[in-house]
Symmetry: C2
Subunit: 333 residues, 2 copies
Amino acid sequence: MKKVTILDIAKAANVSKSTVSRVLNGTAAVASDKKRAVLDATDRLGFKPNVVARSLARGRSMTIGVLTQIIGSPFYDTIAQGVIAGLSGSGYSPIFVDGQWQQDEEVVGIRALLGRQVDGLVLIGGDVPAEEIVELCGDLPTVIVARQLPDDVHNCVFMDNVDGGFQATKHLIEHGHRDIAIIKGLAHHADALDRFAGYRQALKEAGIPVRDELVLDGDFSADSGVDAVEQMHHRGITFSAIFAANDMTAFGARLALSRLGIEVPGQVSLVGFDNQMESAYTTPPLTTMHQPARQMGAEATKAVLAMIDGEPFESRRYGGRLVVRESVSRLST
Amino acid sequence: MKKVTILDIAKAANVSKSTVSRVLNGTAAVASDKKRAVLDATDRLGFKPNVVARSLARGRSMTIGVLTQIIGSPFYDTIAQGVIAGLSGSGYSPIFVDGQWQQDEEVVGIRALLGRQVDGLVLIGGDVPAEEIVELCGDLPTVIVARQLPDDVHNCVFMDNVDGGFQATKHLIEHGHRDIAIIKGLAHHADALDRFAGYRQALKEAGIPVRDELVLDGDFSADSGVDAVEQMHHRGITFSAIFAANDMTAFGARLALSRLGIEVPGQVSLVGFDNQMESAYTTPPLTTMHQPARQMGAEATKAVLAMIDGEPFESRRYGGRLVVRESVSRLST
DNA sequence: TTGTAAGCGTTATCAC
DNA sequence: GTGATAACGCTTACAA
């Protein structure tokens, strides 16, 4: 069970290394008898090409580096799945590093990827400043998913979170709600900020003032949804609807509401953000903004592949789509 | 921004390639002045070692191959996260291939990993027969997670699903239930079969006969939970409790129940399996079997690392832990 | 069409 | 301590 190299099969087939390489890669025409001899020896000896050696010789590693943010977030996990899907059948393999949403970790990770001679890079989310990304990656085909960088800086595939927040809030307004609370996401997270901006924009457009007491802090966790609702209840704040920064937060809010004996959507309407799988099966099924996470991951990946082949690419913005289920009802006045 | 190699820094530091290599790896003592000169040149020129070349020379790639089963299953995804976590700080990077729960895909994937000279292998789930794994992987450090192979065949880190099913069912029995339905998982999936076996065992031990009408087919999806409940209702079958093969199925069942106006746990008690994040926030919060998915992933990975260093390893079976929440109540007779 | 030989960037084995 | 020099396994001019 020793390592079989092309030299071994070269000998076995009575040809030179180069010829072996040629038939294996179809790089050049080879006499059919020798060809068969090579192919023959190849599987007789059970030859498996050494990708590492090939990479070194070719200068291409056939790997794509992927920076993930493993926080157990369904959204980012789904993007990662999209990346894997986008790579399938391409001959490229993904190699992962995890950024843990920490700048230094991310930089270390990207460096590691670079050291491994990846042919391209897919960066999922992250906090590394745009300039640093450019500095690190140079002209290596790179695309950033789920994050919007200045247009002239780098290629991004992202979702319009301002519009998402706007749509979600508007949906509530259209159902007659005016006392709409928002449970925000992580304080410095761009997506959270954008969704909040969309919320304000929708209210403004409807002539509804933003009331500070209806703006609750959160961190994308279910617990923060629970806390926010309890807080409002404790303070005696009245509201007829909640826009949660993501579905997990909405789940928490829904549970807290239920504990307080407040019916959804009977007494309070609820909208989430992400459309994660579980949201279709909560009671009631959650109305939420769909983010094409998997699709974005796949598209970003294919873009990297295309860039490797010299094709150009420009940033792509996705629009969200509100999935209307049963957690919102018309406000009966 | 050209590629800087050790040759470049060798020249810049007036030493030989070998010396550069030595200081970079600490392989041997080097005069401190030369050492400084090298280190100096190293970051002046911004040298980044080429991992591919190093791998070829050393015969170790510093990568661990991971076979995943990306079906969007929280359970398997969590294991993958555990793998990443287990690798962190080790210097090894994970390289992923996806098996999609298809034998041929899995074999192709493993082959690809092997071709990339991975130093070890973590196989998550999968359907490839034990003998084939052995044949493919030879003596490469390999451990299989979330799957139990014959003891003498390979190293596994898995959970005892029979016991899990047993505990879950027993919990229901202890609360006075006798008409306990089970919504099974994928027909040929070992875990599903084991959980079902545990269910039967618990009933038997309690002297409760297994009634066929209470055994519903399912496929681990929420929809199959919905279907199962609707089916029972349609057939007029009475039951006071449901053991769902996993949490997603439980979610579906819970929704269907709610649609039928059946209260949980008031009229029907419900137990799931997986303890995925969302289960703590459903209404009511779901009582479910906790599987230490992340932990299993991490442990398997560390085991592979240890095996690379020549340490032995033996299969490890995890016990499940029932997380009691609010979806089960005592049957009032 | 086919073989020889020169890399690819490191590490490792020798002498010195 | 340090520097040649030979691997590592494969690709790719360059000849023939």
